[in-house]
Point group: C2
Chain length 245, copies 2
DNA sequence: CGCCCATTTGAGTTTAATCAAAAAACGTGG
DNA sequence: CCACGTTTTTTGATTAAACTCAAATGGGCG
């Protein structure tokens, strides 16, 4: 079941059959959750760790006056609640964007696997650092990029992330976000997002229909976005750890 | 020398004398660096870990056309280059904002200390997670807060962080940033930052002179900023790990 | 079919950016 | 300690990007 997680981690290191088996063992208890539900609320301190197997969720923070910012997209193979083994309480909420299937992993089971499988430990380390790098890149987007650049950058990032877990087909990928959700991600209004999409369609860059995104000209889109994939650290950085050389 | 680091980590757990000694042992080789120098460049893969002992630095990313975004402030007691033990190359640069003294720690020495001092390991884990939480909060600021709110929020955050390492005096703290640097942090122009400062001074909220910030009314400033300190996770979260109960 | 949610379009407003220049503060060497 | 060059801050006038408000259109699903 945790195929997307495995696929993702293998961008960092080659796992052994035993490693993969251990990961499968973790995803035993699976829960289905509908769209627009909170998986975790701000202030929660869950006792198990949740892994998204299918569907999209997001981390978000809400200000007292209602303004909402999505601070991360949680895709299949991503953990919801990384590492509250250390922190007492969550400082943000996690909500579903689509119906989702999550594996609930008892934290002691996870700990045991990490102890016995140093490659998995390292790979999850890598995954954490990449998540932090993505967060930094979002800071750059919100701080420096124009509305058009932001939308373009988001699409490039999601396309690469989805490709990494095998969820693209050619130049097409799922994009189940509404324009309001894109707006909440990019610090824009839905009206303005709509106008940027109009512009990108007009320029022949993308097709976006029935929750699927087709990127007609990826290099051009990346140029517009000032997108540089380096921050995703995709090039087998931990090869020195590979199972079987 | 790594007093600020120790002070910071003790917000998470109480360290033993041996723990503290080990940290002191790490900060043996110290380097002085002038203002506006790069400690690390985008793409570097340094072989040692650098800890800022004194002075301020920042992580920043620069777009191809010159636009620059500061993505984090590195204060005394912060590491420059967390965790490139895993990643091959840095995806951002680290530059000094003031003259700085950094300790250069061989990564194997750090690893050894982490192995032998589980409390330090956990505390550094905590520190990493808090850094991630700060990055998320910046995403909220840049995405949702107005210019005035952003400046106010930054000041609250820096004041709390500095207080945590003992660098405040009453309601006053150092603030060695220029208005251009504040602007690069908040995704604003220096002109607009200047106007917001003018407004905050006029409202009797702050005094900012000769690189020192005095917050005349912290509750009011926090209200304006929609600041909620929860994300800094300051309340002795790891007390179950404390040395001597 | 009809309802609800999401998208699209238009008109007017606001926030923050840009451009330009003056004033103040800082640092350094004579 | 003062003069001078540089950096930083401050102020003003104008412009541009994105927001707000409002209403119409379109799609998906029971």
């Amino acid at each position: 079941m945790p195929d997307h997680l495995i696929r993702k981690l293998e961008h960092f290191t080659r796992l052994s059959a035993a490693d993969r088996l251990a990961l499968h063992g973790l995803a035993r208890s699976v829960r289905a959750v509908g769209r627009h539900q909170d998986l975790l609320r701000d202030g929660d301190s869950p006792r198990h760790v949740s892994l998204v197997l299918e569907g999209w969720a997001c981390r978000y923070k809400q200000l007292e006056d209602g303004r909402r910012q999505i601070v991360a997209h949680v895709l299949p193979g991503d953990f919801c609640d990384g590492y509250l083994l250390v922190l007492r309480a969550l400082d943000h909420a996690v909500g579903t964007l689509t119906p989702v299937r999550v594996a609930e992993i008892p934290s002691n089971a996870l700990m045991e696997v990490l102890d016995q499988h140093p490659r998995i430990m390292q790979a999850l380390w890598w995954e954490t650092l990449v998540a932090a790098a993505i967060q930094r890149e979002w800071t750059v987007s919100l701080g420096q990029r124009t509305a058009l650049e932001r939308v373009a950058h988001l699409f490039c990032e999601l396309f690469w992330r989805l490709r990494m877990i095998g969820l693209t087909e050619g130049d097409t990928c799922p994009l189940p976000l509404t324009q309001v959700e894109i707006a909440d991600t990019l610090g824009l209004t839905n009206v303005h997002v709509n106008r940027m999409l109009h512009q990108m369609r007009g320029a022949g860059l993308i097709v976006l229909k029935s929750k699927r995104l087709t990127i007609l000209d990826l290099p051009a889109l990346q140029d517009i976005a000032l997108f540089n994939a380096g921050y995703l650290h995709l090039e087998r950085e931990g090869s020195h750890l590979d199972a079987e050389g």
